[in-house]
């Protein structure tokens, strides 16, 4: 029985606390005897620390300690070498945290950090990704566990035989996650037990990592993440801040809070790897793809392999008899890249959906029609039917809503005064997955219910969505349900990431609610005299689910204007239509989708990590010099979704919406820029210097 909370537009449960400033973030908890940590980044790229002189720092007023590899508490060497911090003199990349200064005030800690003198023995380094780097290699697999290369049919022969071919290479720069709240932690040790308030996307795994590193039982570690000011993937697992803070707190035997600065998060917290992507497409004269090849190059660090699945998008998106994908990596002296909203799919779709646009022009058919013509009901990669694939429906509805019909494909054919106008589109898809989770539902004597699960709300509205699902599963109005999340004291749950949070959490919550209702059935009036609880763990159920191709789909449309004199690109409007299963909360869902699309706009036109090879460092590491799309850049962005039912997903019927909004968005914009100007910029971002003075303009 459903009371219909799912599908209704509830405001965020914690919205009032957030807008009135009472919602506490990681370093906002009042703690007696608190001290302040400040991270010290390495000044060299690769080498060894030969000396740490703390004399001046320790003499500075308020400074309590300088924690470094020479005096830091020991950590167990674990599977995450990036987190084995302050343990050894080796420096693996510039910006690696090599010390923490602890002081009685934030300002004193910052000044102390400036006064720490560190001598290095620095060696040569390599930090720039190139397509002919001598270190290119084939990783064993790509994230999370996909084959590195795939081949079906005979690409070379199929490509050579085709009447229409496109062979293009796209480049994307390093992109840096910039959540509003930086990576930040308050850590307290008491009687061998560790309590951290931490900004992360999944407290369960953070606890496990801390327990492993500090060699304490997981039960001795509690991680609280009530409110998290964004993550976009960069807080998916335990990161440096929480480890540094816990180390420092143990060293000074006092509670410590530490927040990384904006400058300090450019690199060491992970970033979207730069990519070099060659895409080759071949088609017959009607635009039916006969051969697809996507060769992706990206980077990793010397201390950990992070092999982004850039070309995986291409394996399942469009059908062709001859297909090939490859991934190559280079180990550079850089921080390890990490997740950024739709890692793999996002940059991969930029390349494939741009190449599809180039193919549409080469064949002479409409780009929407090209995608419809190459749709497939069977996953070309797995060879099995998709559980649901509404790409074509998204394309058609998007085209209709956007006003795509009768579009003149001729580049540089529309003008409004000094502005050249163009439209572009792209397809979009993202896997719909779920992970095992547990949850507890409790009925209380006053007729209310408590639902507990260590889910994380990183600003998405997850808390509210699970609450809605719980109410329907319990068969009561949501006002009677209380929900607790964001604490390892609650039943364990997977992270908020991979667009699988709501799917995973709601699954466990529904099962717990079902079990509870069975227990209550026998009670008179269904209300217990004392609390009655039911626990659920979906490990077996999720693990036993058949492996099927499950994907969300979308269609992205954009209209841009390009100043014919200056090359300035501005977005007139952007429109996306998505098929992502059941939408739990239209308000927060829309926010996720337009947020993803806006981030795609930012990727297409604005963001770029500029590396200076001499320093092995990104030189633009603040929000004044690393441009992120601002409100004035987003004149109109609209997101719609189809009513989609797919029984092969999960009990809530959701596909996840955190990431699909960004997939394809950059390609739609890049394709629109080409349509406006006739200039195909194949390296992002598309800034005015790549357009000004080109003969196609003016």
């Amino acid at each position: 029985m459903s009371t219909g909370a799912v599908g209704r537009a509830y405001p965020r449960l914690e919205g009032r606390e957030k807008v009135t400033g009472t919602a506490r973030y990681a370093v906002e908890y009042p703690v007696d005897g608190i001290t302040y940590g400040w991270a010290v980044p390495s000044a060299v790229v690769r080498g060894r620390i030969t000396r740490v002189d703390t004399t001046q720092a320790l003499a500075s007023p308020g400074v309590l300690a300088v924690v470094h590899h020479g005096n830091a508490p020991r950590l167990a060497p674990g599977p995450e070498p990036e987190l084995w911090l302050l343990q050894e003199p080796a420096v693996h990349y510039r910006g690696q945290y090599v010390a923490v200064v602890v002081a009685t005030s934030l300002e004193a800690a910052r000044e102390g950090a400036r006064l720490v003198r560190i001598d290095y023995d620095a060696g040569p380094h390599s930090t720039v990704l190139t397509d002919d780097h001598p270190g290119l290699y084939q990783p064993d697999h790509v994230n999370p566990s996909y084959p590195t290369d795939t081949a079906e049919g005979d690409f070379d022969a199929g490509y050579a035989a085709a009447p229409v071919r496109v062979d293009v290479t796209y480049r994307t720069p390093a992109y840096h996650n910039n959540p509003m709240e930086p990576h930040a932690t308050t850590a307290q040790w008491r009687d061998g037990r560790l309590l951290v308030h931490d900004s992360n996307q999944g407290a369960t795994s953070v606890r496990a990592t801390l327990a492993e590193l500090f060699e304490v039982p997981p039960e001795s570690v509690r991680v609280v993440a009530q409110h998290v000011g964004g993550g976009f993937g960069s807080k998916g697992y335990a990161k440096a801040a929480v480890v540094l803070t816990a180390l420092a707190a143990r060293h000074v035997d006092r509670p410590v809070k530490l927040a990384l600065t904006r400058q300090q998060i450019f690199g060491p917290i992970g970033y979207r790897t730069p990519t070099i992507q060659r895409v080759r497409l071949a088609a017959d004269a009607d635009g039916r793809l006969t051969a697809i090849c996507h060769d992706a190059i990206s980077q990793t660090s010397t201390i950990r392999e992070f092999a982004e699945q850039t070309a995986v998008y291409t394996r399942s998106m469009y059908a062709a008899p001859h297909r090939r994908t490859t991934h190559r990596l280079v180990r550079l002296d850089v921080p390890t890249p990490f997740w950024m909203r739709a890692p793999g799919e996002c940059p991969g779709a930029y390349a494939l959906e741009s190449a599809m646009d180039e193919l549409a022009l080469a064949v002479g058919i409409d780009p929407v029609e090209l995608r419809i013509r190459n749709d497939t009901e069977v996953d070309p990669d797995q060879g099995r039917p998709f559980t649901s694939r509404n790409l074509v429906a998204c394309l058609r509805e998007g085209a209709q809503r956007f006003g795509w019909t009768d579009r003149d494909p001729t580049p540089r054919a529309r003008r409004d005064g000094r502005w050249l106008i163009g439209t572009g589109m792209a397809g979009s898809s993202y896997p719909a997955r779920a992970r095992p989770s547990s949850a507890r539902a409790t009925a209380r004597p006053d007729g209310s219910f408590l639902v507990q699960i260590n889910a994380t709300d990183i600003g998405t509205g997850a808390r509210t969505a699970i609450w809605q699902v719980a109410a329907d599963a319990l068969g009561v109005p949501p006002e009677r349900v209380e929900i607790h999340i964001g604490d390892t004291a609650l039943p364990t749950a997977p992270l908020a990431g991979g667009s699988m949070g709501t799917a995973s959490w709601s699954w466990a919550v529904i099962r717990a609610a079902q079990t509870l209702r069975e227990k209550l059935q026998d009670l008179p009036g269904g209300v217990p005299a004392d609390d009655v609880s039911a626990d659920a763990d979906t490990t077996d159920e999720v693990g036993g689910q058949p492996t099927l191709p499950r994907y969300a789909y979308g269609a992205q449309f954009a209209e841009v204007r390009v100043d014919a004199d200056t090359g300035e690109v501005r977005l007139n409007r952007m429109l996306g239509v998505f098929a992502a299963g059941r939408v739990v909360n239209p308000t927060t869902a829309r926010s996720q989708l337009i947020g993803g699309m806006t981030m795609g706009l930012s990727m297409a036109l604005h963001e770029e990590g500029l590396l200076d090879e001499r320093y092995g460092d990104w030189v633009n590491h603040d929000l004044a010099t690393y441009h992120i799309t601002g409100c004035a850049d987003v004149e109109s962005v609209e997101a719609y979704w189809l009513d989609e039912h797919d029984d092969e997903l999960n009990p809530a019927g959701v596909k996840g919406i955190g990431e699909i909004g960004i997939v394809g968005a950059a390609a739609a914009i890049a394709n629109a820029v080409h349509h406006a100007t006739g200039v195909r910029v194949r390296d992002l971002p598309i800034r005015l210097d790549k357009l000004v003075g080109t003969s196609s303009l003016a």
Binding site: D565, N620, H621, V692
Partner: protein
């Protein structure tokens, strides 16, 4: 950050005296630039002399028709001033094209003129910069220099001046009223800024401890037909990658007078005298404007990443003047 003292001076003389006595003192205006640089360790004053309470916050119309703007008038107030909007639209537009609403509410007229370059190497104490640390070298010369100078740079420094307001004031032949340790003095804004040369750490011709007290706009009826065109990498809240302040006075279609200044191309706001010369006395046309810009930019020496600034500046010169000519 370094501990510092805070001083609120009784009057201008007191402020100047503190600066004269304290070698590491600095004036605090809106703090929108200085406080950031203090956090970064780029500037490390030990005394902040807060001049925002001094009685320098009025805009007065001069009897001769000019305008005198106090040094602590906030950018947002100045942009909204009716006389500025009517008589000097170039100034209002330059102000409104800068920063964000919050920053404009804080930033002062005097502080805006003295803000520091946004060269990323200057702002990072881990990298070489002669302006920040004389003798350490210029990492930008062969580094990431897309945003930096194409005119008048030196091997020691390729930084640009970031202010939009200063570009507009440069076009208007503004006089800067300053109070030096020796007393008050007038400095034409075109003589306020220095080329980087071998001493890029010296950015102005002012003696240390000098306080800007006001800027004086001379009467310029032609400025009613003036504009500011700014090009930036996003639609708001970004420094210029190219900008032009322009005043155009036509007699029929003949250019009777013209004032042009460029932003984002040099260490100082760049008054385009050669372009003005090429325009004056000739019948206006977009082609003439383009030739004038070419005359000005003939000596441009683009760096590795900023060659686009030459055609860009040329394009916005043509745009600004053509718009004024047809208005």
């Amino acid at each position: 950050m370094r501990a510092f003292r805070y001083h609120r001076p009784a009057d201008v003389a007191d402020a100047v005296a503190v600066l004269a006595a304290e070698p590491q003192a600095a004036y605090l205006g809106g703090g929108t630039n200085l406080v950031d640089l203090m956090k970064l360790g780029v500037q490390r004053p030990d005394v902040l002399v807060d001049v925002t309470r001094l009685p320098l916050d009025t805009v007065e119309e001069a009897p001769d028709g000019g305008l005198r703007i106090g040094a602590t008038v906030r950018n947002s107030d100045l942009a909204a001033h009716p006389t500025v909007r009517r008589d000097y639209p170039v100034l209002a537009r330059a102000l409104l094209a800068a920063a964000s609403g919050q920053l404009r509410n804080m930033a002062t007229t005097g502080g805006n003129l003295l803000q520091r370059t946004r060269c990323v190497y200057f702002q990072d104490t881990g990298k070489a910069c002669n302006k920040r640390e004389p003798g350490s070298g210029c990492a930008a010369l062969h580094g990431q220099n897309r945003d930096l100078a194409v005119l008048d740079w030196s091997e020691q420094c390729v930084a640009t001046h970031p202010s939009d307001l200063a570009v507009a004031l440069t076009a208007l032949d503004t006089v800067v009223e300053v109070h030096e340790p020796d007393g008050p003095r007038d400095v034409p804004i075109t003589a306020l800024y220095r080329s980087p040369g071998t001493h890029p750490e010296r950015e102005t011709t002012l003696a240390r401890g000098t306080l800007i007290t006001a800027v004086r706009l001379p009467p310029l009826p032609a400025a009613r037909r003036s504009t500011y065109v700014k090009v930036r990498d996003r639609a708001s809240f970004a420094f210029a990658v190219g900008s032009v302040a322009a005043v155009l006075d036509l007699d029929g279609d003949v250019v009777r007078d013209v004032r042009l200044a460029y932003g984002a191309v040099a260490h100082r706001p760049w008054r385009a005298y050669r372009a003005e010369e090429a325009l004056r006395g000739r019948p206006f046309s977009p082609e003439l404007a383009a030739r004038a810009a070419d005359a000005e930019l003939a000596e441009a020496r683009p760096l590795r990443h900023n060659g686009f600034k030459v055609p860009l500046t040329r394009a916005i010169t043509v745009r600004a003047l053509s718009e004024l000519a047809s208005s």
